[in-house]
Symmetry: C2
Subunit: 303 residues, 2 copies
């Protein structure tokens, strides 16, 4: 079955016609910064072009940032896209495209692609973790996305790992994200070096062997290992898929993550820790795959 | 449909014939301490008596402590029951009873009863938390038990909430259980009062207004709130059901748990926090309900 996947990001929109996790054709364009109506028009335009080329496509999936209202098919708000508050994404796109439209959280969509067709395709239960500016994720059980009661399952970066630790964007101290995400490491580096240091510069310093840069990354890796171990205790996945720019810092980072996960999971069979395989394509593949699932089964891909 | 539920505990075995979550007849006896063969014989005996009284019963469910091997239907080991290592519980009981036998973790069984028929019966997604000598739990999504890759999902008391905190039975520092379970509170009380203090005595002291006893319970309640908030970030349940003796210490405990959960879940719709309703009956009702589910659907209740 061919479906169309849309990936709505803060700066760009990606769209692809997808069959069995394979991209047949892909299109990209910039995300309009002029409000929901223009964003919806841009999404409809790229989707229409693909639907013209693939008239056999059966449905459309869209991966979106920000907390979503699955019941009403709306974005509650998207921190990085202006004017998306309560935007009626699903209804508007269904009307313009004449096909059913399925909404999914962007991290869930990317993780679902990895779960079904990427690094976790052989694992029955997997958890996707995006280690980037922030830390997010998705939980996948069998062929389903765990959505939770309000579509907020898998927001694992907000777990508290150190009460009394650094205060995060969510206003409480010591979350995984506030200790170990890219922006948290840059904060620590700027403090340590008494000048503004970006995550990229920090990683360069670490690769060049700077002792203090390595200490910051080592601390972040250690807490990411503790975070993964906490997810093990709740979900007991067969494996993790790690995505996002932080995974590229070097092998020493992943080694430290794995060692800490093992240390904090005594008595548990150690889950796989793998790096994401699908890169930027994960978003559109996942959105298209969620749409294919719902079309085929007439029950939602998410539970 | 009538099914039989068995609840294997360290000191007693409970058995009941159950229909739609209602106990029709219940039996109890002591758990033999003389090895797996005697435990299996005792389980078969109480189950047979009920099956004789209810010949229309279709299958048998059994809730067991300890890590289980679901694929092979065995107990890996049960810390509180002698000689249960790798005991072939399911095969042995099926042979003696002539019915299909379904194995379930004891906390999952009790929680599943609360999810389907008890305090969480109106919630689509719920998490059961047993706050007792230790801290355990179960995660329920729709009508399914989340088991995970190795049957270890829901062992939430082993989450790390304070790296560097007290070392727990699993050998790593700062787990929820090692900070906030009944045995952890007794450890802290014994230190604070410089003499052996049981959990029961600590609770009495707190109810009488002892400042130091209250501080210990307050600390435990606070970390239990943080633990629940961490589960929110992974699973996003509609609510929690709290069971176990610790919940009985007093309203101030539950108030502190709820307040801390709210504090550490900014931005999330606050889940329900309810106290378990089914008491000691939860184990047999849950085991029987898992068996009924699997018999009716020919697919496992657990995912």
């Amino acid at each position: 079955m061919i479906t169309v996947g849309l990936d709505l990001g803060g700066t760009k929109i990606a769209a692809a016609a997808v069959r069995d996790g394979q991209i047949l054709e892909q299109r990209r364009r910039e995300t309009p910064q002029s409000g929901a109506a223009d964003v919806i028009a841009a999404l409809a335009e790229v989707a229409s072009a693909l639907l013209e080329a693939y008239p056999e496509a059966r449905s459309v999936g869209i991966g979106c940032p920000g907390p979503l209202d699955f019941e009403r098919g709306r974005v509650r708000f998207a921190p990085n896209i202006a004017g998306m508050e309560d935007a009626p994404l699903v209804d508007a796109l269904r009307e313009r495209l004449g096909l059913s439209v399925v909404l999914e959280n962007d991290a869930n969509a990317a993780g679902y692609a990895e779960h079904r067709y990427g690094a976790a395709r052989d694992l029955a239960t997997s958890v996707y973790v995006t280690l980037s500016t922030g830390i997010g994720g998705g939980v996948f059980v069998g062929d389903r996305v765990l959505r939770g009661a309000h579509g907020l399952a898998g927001e694992i970066g907000h777990m508290t790992l150190l009460p009394g630790g650094p205060v995060g964007g969510d206003g409480h101290p010591g979350s995984w994200e506030a200790i170990a995400a890219g922006r948290a490491m840059a904060r620590d580096a700027s403090y340590v070096f008494s000048r503004p240091v970006s995550t990229a510069e920090l990683f360069e310093l670490a690769r060049a062997g700077d002792r203090r840069a390595l200490a910051i990354i080592d601390n972040a890796a250690r807490f990411t290992g503790i975070g993964l171990a906490n997810v093990v205790k709740v979900v007991d996945p067969a494996g993790f898929v790690l995505g996002g720019g932080v995974t590229g810092v070097g092998d020493f980072y992943l080694e430290r993550v794995r060692a800490t996960l093992a240390q904090y999971s005594t008595g548990y069979p150690l889950p796989q820790v793998r790096v994401a395989e699908l890169g930027d394509d994960a978003g559109v593949i996942g959105a298209a795959t969620v749409a294919a699932f719902e079309h085929a089964s007439s029950s939602p891909a998410g539970v």
